[in-house]
């Protein structure tokens, strides 16, 4: 056992994992500080789930090492299981058992579990405490799954697709639960493809694409890499004279697709564009302005959009 405490809660070094000919994780290194909410963001097949499975010690990497609170996840499994709570994306529970029965069962696996009633209440399942797992809605099953990840008072929690399948109200409730976890000093590793969730919760985000970390920064830091701060889209009733918008102060990029025009830039962009259009006698309709977000950063960094799986139903 090392005498000096590790500085990081999770330390993954040069992880590599392939399934047959398919490389799931090419080369992933990341370091999660204690007490941090760390996001892993990426599309389906980017290697998110494999990465967390390697970190949770469920899968054996072909190469590389993972330490959680200084414990080697493959060799110190017994210790690891005491301090690491895991919510798996595709794991279900005993179908015929009720919420209370399942929480009580999992509680017996740990030294100092959270009392069942308290835990069930914290994820908003008190009214369904006597409902069998198979009769719960998808969102309720998800919440129970999160409760079970927390029952042993873990110091590090892995949450895989935390709010997939939850309605907006339940989603916000889950987010407060995660924020309370951070307040109590728990380190959270959050796998997600929901931008809003990552932007709101995460201190830092690793952006995964094709089995690699393509960027690692705070959500705000990632947004900066989108290459622009604002975007304005509008429909032009008549053609916009060439060079009109490109020459404006603060404009970085102009794209036209038929009568639809997209302008990206910074500063008082909307004002500048409107004035220029009016002066040129171009009538603009359906004008929409938006701040750059993680979505845009994702496109800038990987070359493709993330939202193709936003509607994925579990």
């Amino acid at each position: 056992m090392p005498a000096t405490p590790p500085s990081a809660a999770v330390e993954a070094e040069r992880l590599h994992k392939r399934y047959g000919p398919k490389v799931a994780v090419e080369e992933i290194s990341l370091s999660v500080a204690t007490g941090e909410i760390f996001g892993i963001l990426g599309r389906n097949g980017a290697g998110k789930t494999t990465t967390v499975e390697l970190i949770a010690g469920i899968r054996k990497p072909d190469r590389g090492t993972v330490r959680v609170l200084g414990l080697d996840v493959r060799r110190d499994r017994a210790r690891l299981r005491q301090v690491l709570g895991v919510q798996l994306q595709d794991a279900t529970l005993h179908a015929a058992l009720t919420v209370t029965e399942l929480v009580r069962l999992y509680a017996t696996f740990y030294r100092d579990p959270v009392p069942a009633g308290e835990l069930i209440e914290s994820v908003g399942l008190t009214a369904s405490a006597r409902t069998r797992f198979e009769s719960l809605s998808g969102g309720q099953q998800q919440r129970l799954s999160i409760a079970l990840a927390l029952v042993g008072r873990p110091r590090v929690v892995i949450l895989d697709e935390l709010t997939t399948g939850l309605d907006p109200e339940a989603r916000r409730q889950m987010w407060s639960t995660v924020e309370r976890l951070r307040d109590s000093g728990v380190t959270v590793l959050l796998v997600s493809h929901a931008m809003e969730e990552v932007e709101r919760l995460c201190d830092r985000v690793a952006l995964l694409d094709a089995g690699r970390v393509v960027a690692l920064d705070s959500p705000a830091g990632l947004v900066k890499r989108a290459g622009f701060a604002q975007r304005i889209t509008f429909r032009a009733a008549s053609p916009v004279p060439g060079g009109l918008l490109e020459g404006l102060a603060g404009v970085d990029r102009v794209r036209a697709d038929g009568d639809r025009v997209v302008v990206e830039g910074r500063g008082d962009l909307l004002q500048a564009v409107s004035v220029a259009l009016v002066r040129a006698g171009v009538v603009a309709t359906e004008t929409r302005g938006e701040q750059a977000g993680l979505d845009d950063a994702f496109v800038a960094l990987t070359g493709h959009r993330l939202d193709t799986e936003e509607e994925k139903i579990r």
Binding site: L71, A78, T92
Partner: protein
């Protein structure tokens, strides 16, 4: 930070796991039909055909041939078919994966399931026995202790075979198919579809060492008060040991 002491889930966790498994079984009424209903059906189908003439020590053909066969079938269906298919379901649904990230050991999960299976076997055998006594005037084994011992060893052997099936099947679904195939193979070579006398000699000899044939033969001997030979006992014990070793080496959570 690494001053983590290991808390191993103990008897309380095991008891809770066992209770939960029992509740799951009890709430799945369809799952109870095979282990309890099938042996009774086989018994009824064979009881009237078996003569009432005493074969040895006042025991009839029903006692020394049909009941050992029925009891061995109860054990075999539970051990070789039900147990792997239960594990298949647990794997496919991710229940084992989920348990795999808790401090609970896979052995505890397996043992809890084995106990549940043993209880199912006990209920199945008890039901068949009561029916045999009440409806067909069955007699208890001459050497009851030996019969119970043989039955226990058969349970261990059949479970071990089930564990081999579960551990070596490439996918969860294939384990059910493989389990059924193994069950019928063992049954066929062990006299499930008629006496072993009618089998080719080589197959009959092999079948005598395999758990099904060995179990029925040893149980039959104990029932009629004859000495239980070493061969079937060795066969059963060997199956139990092999299965446990294979399962320990190859068990997977998913």
């Amino acid at each position: 930070m690494t001053d983590v002491t290991v808390h191993r889930p103990g008897p309380r966790a095991f008891a809770e796991l066992l209770i939960c498994e029992l509740k799951s079984v009890a709430r799945d009424t369809a799952g109870l039909i095979v282990p309890i209903g099938l042996p009774m059906l086989i018994l009824v189908m064979n009881a009237s055909a078996a003569g009432r003439e005493p074969v040895a020590h006042g025991r009839t053909a029903l006692d020394v041939f049909v009941l050992p066969l029925v009891f061995t079938m109860v054990v075999a269906t539970t051990g070789i078919v039900n147990m792997p298919s239960f594990l298949a379901y647990y794997r496919r649904s991710g229940i084992l994966r989920r348990l795999g990230v808790t401090p609970v050991s896979p052995v505890m999960v397996l043992v809890a399931q084995a106990v549940v299976g043993a209880l199912q076997i006990a209920v199945g055998i008890a039901a068949a026995w009561i029916l045999a006594v009440l409806a067909f005037g069955a007699n208890p084994p001459v050497r009851a202790g030996a019969a119970i011992g043989v039955l226990a060893l058969t349970v261990a052997a059949m479970y071990a075979v089930g564990l081999i099936v579960a551990a070596l099947s490439p996918t969860p679904n294939s384990s059910v198919a493989i389990g059924l195939t193994v069950f019928f193979l063992l049954g066929a070579t062990g006299g499930m579809f008629g006496g072993r006398d009618s089998l080719p000699e080589a197959i009959a000899t092999v079948g005598q060492w395999l758990p099904f044939g060995a179990g029925t033969e040893a149980l039959s001997a104990a029932w009629m008060g004859a000495p239980v030979e070493a061969a079937p006992l060795i066969g059963l014990a060997a199956a139990a040991v092999c299965g446990t070793v294979v399962a320990a080496l190859f068990f997977r959570w998913d």
